[in-house]
């Protein structure tokens, strides 16, 4: 077990050396010119994007609170008994007999 751990550590050391070795690869200079060309082509940063930034930074932060509220309302909805409302609704729909004027004064 200890040997295996040691093997993994030795392998990791070598792989880390190989990984950090990638840093020494030389690249050209042209990419900076191309980057600035692309940025100039984009033009000045539009101020209209502030609204979207505001949306991104603040409105999305409300997401957890919104989810909690949805959960609470869903729980309340399930907890409430909707049978009485259902019965009132069915009686209104199914009992199609019209009330006459005399019936109204019977009580």
């Amino acid at each position: 077990m200890k040997n295996l751990q040691h093997t993994y550590e030795a392998l990791r050391t070598i792989l880390r050396e190989a990984y950090f070795g990638k840093e020494h690869v030389e690249v050209g200079e042209q990419w900076q010119v191309n980057a600035m060309r692309r940025i100039r082509a984009l033009g000045p940063i539009p101020s209209g994007s502030n609204f979207f930034l505001f949306f991104e930074q603040f409105v999305w932060r409300l997401t957890p609170a919104t989810c909690i509220l949805i959960f609470i309302f869903a729980a309340l909805l399930f907890k409430l008994d909707f049978t009485p409302e259902y019965e009132v609704f069915t009686s209104l729909i199914c009992d199609t007999e019209e009330l006459s004027l005399a019936q109204l004064f019977e009580f």
């Binding site: 990984y19 990419w31 191309n34 980057a35 600035m36 692309r38 502030n50």
Partner: protein
Amino acid sequence: MPNHLRNPSDAEIIRRIIDGDVNSFEHLLRKYQDHVLRIVKKHVPFQEVEEMAQEVFVRAYQALPGFKEEGGFGQWLSSIAVRTCYDFWRKRYRSREVPMSDLSENHRDWLEKTWSHQSDTSFYEKSRVKEARETLDWGLERLSAQDRMVLELVYLEGLSVKEAAGLLGWSAAKVKVRSFRSRKKLETLFKRVIPT
């Protein structure tokens, strides 16, 4: 000339850029180009480095109004660089453009020696660097984009879970789980190719 005019701070340069002076961005590019290149070189193939470095600065420029001075511009740029590299791999894996090279006899031999020489790594000479790098790339090719990035940041670069989570914009728990799984996957891959 006052010092702050000769060497304006990052905040001052950023304010100028936001006010419409696009050319001021070149100061930031010159100042941080090595920093960005160091990150990009480690995460993407050599032939893609220049393109990715450009992409990092273009994204940074576009996101500049959202920059907050909390961790400094360098830290913020590092995060953009890492996420750009991650997006590169996601796109690559989605379009199945990742070449699945096979390990040659030399690579297998190298891996076997590394495995067997538990305490003695003296055999590891400069000529073996190529094998090590190619074997590492071979292993990374077989992981997902997420596993790859986490493995590089935590296992190889030695960043803490919190630091890696900050760079990738993930939760610490996600990084911790991914880190463990990706390490196991890589070890399994290597174990499979070693002749028994």
